[in-house]
Symmetry: C2
Subunit: 340 residues, 2 copies
């Protein structure tokens, strides 16, 4: 049987430990100041009385649960692991924990959001692709702030934070053109995701300025993941015998790495001598010695900062301004996969 | 202002949509059968009435919150991302979500567990290193099942699931000895973590059987992460000018990869010709072309299965048997970083 929870109050603990009630509260609040000895005393008293403050019971009066839902599309992409870490560090700092929801790659987030609404959360951060405008308005009606991370929903007034993906795509096209590339392939991610579309769009627009039409770009489906890109490259250039272009743009780094490994490891080509490779994100692995991938850095930490500012957890009553679209610039990081 | 939540009941929604109350319940339960048209009707009625079932309010009667806390030590180690994915897939399947708590590498989990106890969770899975026996007994007293994932606490009766790390260490020593190695270095992780200790222990015991004492093994502190191992290898073999041994055992794959990149990328050595490298975990990256790392596979999926069996979420009243220590065998995966 479970013991009965919540009958013992912080006053009981304070009395037993011989400290103030506020000291008991501080003992259970991350980051608050309290001497080790006093904390030890309070924890020992709490244990004797089987007392622990219950955020959820108290949330019924304060309406705060100190939980934020994060809907994640794809932990196979190391960039989203970086994002999760950046968000967790900031939220935990203020005593808020992440309730994670994962969505199959490319699937709609509507079901996930419906699951989220079964819980009482202080806010929702959505990092995965598809979402209907009805679901965002459903959260809005319930007063739960929703922030889109690195995506937007056309026709919706949901607010969000993203990297300027189109401008980043332009930066990469520019780098490859300057290095002398004239023929191109692109490894695309989720075809319905705004991130992949925008990066490709910016990339194609810049190429067009140099007279290369979009129809001349070979489009490969890399499914946003290393193995997807690896397989797509081998299918196109080995099985179907297509001509390897001067340059391949991986819409994210993990796909660029999959392409590099297929081209070098299986087909025996050299990067950048035989084929240049560009990526996007600047995950840690892009800097590892076997890759040294030239890429567009996404400012993940700054994006996490802006996301929490938009969520505005300190003002639970306030509504998020609709239609805010914060775009942070990406930045080209030169390494060795494109000659300079 | 937030709207008032929970006044509208599923009966109101059923009445408006012209369906049964059980259909409304099914519309909000993941995986239950309902036609798309009926679901659409119910969601539309729910939206009009601003109704969503509230797991937390209902948890006050059922004592179930459909949340499991997972305490994570180190998302810089891709193995723990695999673990998180494996647990999330299984828990989400049964309508349970993960509340994540992260702990600094090497830090005590006591603070994290104290934070966990502010929430009402159906169970706790602990994947990070340090924990006092007092904290586990505190959870036990409150009737919250705790399962240790890939670690144990000496002197505690907390139950857990782990890879047979000592036997895995033996497997790796055996492989390296058979390949002709006679001098060894080990890249260790968290020195207080049972995982790192046990792998090293099994490794050293097997070497001793071939007459190589533990004192002859060079011990390097890799801090469980790629960059830590990279730096430790350069410090020992480049800065301090120590002799590079025949073989280096990375206590986990990401450290083995960091060692490989330092030895090859900075020092110009060849693997396995100049130095053999072994790892542990079998993360996806171990199979990537630049690494092709011979390693010990941890059965992450099976470990996740056993963890959920121990948690026994379907029997909330039942207590976990204390002192259960499920050890699953690792398995040597041969690739190219050790000659065969």
């Amino acid at each position: 049987m479970k013991p009965i929870i919540g009958r013992v109050t912080s006053m009981d603990v304070a009395a037993l430990a011989g400290v103030s009630q506020s000291a008991v509260s501080r003992a259970f609040t991350p980051g608050s100041s309290l001497s080790a000895a006093k904390r030890e005393l309070i924890l020992s008293a709490a244990k004797k009385l089987n007392y622990v403050p219950n955020s959820i019971a108290s949330s019924l009066t304060t309406r705060r649960t100190n939980m934020v839902a994060v809907i994640l599309g794809n932990l196979d992409n190391p960039f989203y692991v970086l994002v999760l870490k950046a968000l967790a560090a900031r939220l935990q700092q203020r005593g808020t924990q992440i309730l994670t929801f994962t969505v199959e790659n490319g699937a709609s987030s509507d079901d996930a959001l419906m699951r989220v609404l079964r819980y009482q959360v202080d806010g929702i951060i959505l990092t995965s692709a598809q979402l209907s405008t009805r679901m965002t308005s459903m959260c809005h009606d319930r007063g739960i702030p929703v922030v889109l991370f690195n995506r937007y929903i056309p026709g919706s007034d949901a607010s969000g934070v993203r990297c300027d993906n189109a401008a980043g795509g332009r930066l990469m096209a520019d780098a490859l053109l300057k290095a002398g590339a004239r023929s191109f392939a692109v490894l695309k991610g989720d075809p319905r995701g705004s991130t992949s579309q925008d990066r490709f769009q910016g990339f194609a627009e810049r190429l067009l300025e140099d007279g290369i039409p979009r129809s001349a770009i070979l489009e490969l489906e890399g499914q946003s993941i290393y193995r997807g890109a690896h397989a797509a490259v081998l299918r196109a250039f080995q099985d179907e015998g297509r001509k390897v272009p001067d340059a391949i743009f991986g819409i994210n780094d993990t796909m660029a790495m999959g392409a590099m490994d297929a081209l070098r490891g299986v087909m025996g080509l050299r990067v950048p001598d035989d084929v240049m490779i560009g990526g996007f994100d600047n995950i840690d692995e892009a800097d590892y010695w076997p890759y040294r991938l030239t890429t567009v850095r996404q400012p993940a930490e700054e994006m996490a900062d802006e996301t929490l500012k938009l969520l505005d957890l300190d003002n639970p009553g306030a509504e998020i301004q609709p239609g805010i679209d914060i775009k942070l610039p990406g930045e080209l990081v030169w390494r060795d996969s494109i000659p300079r």
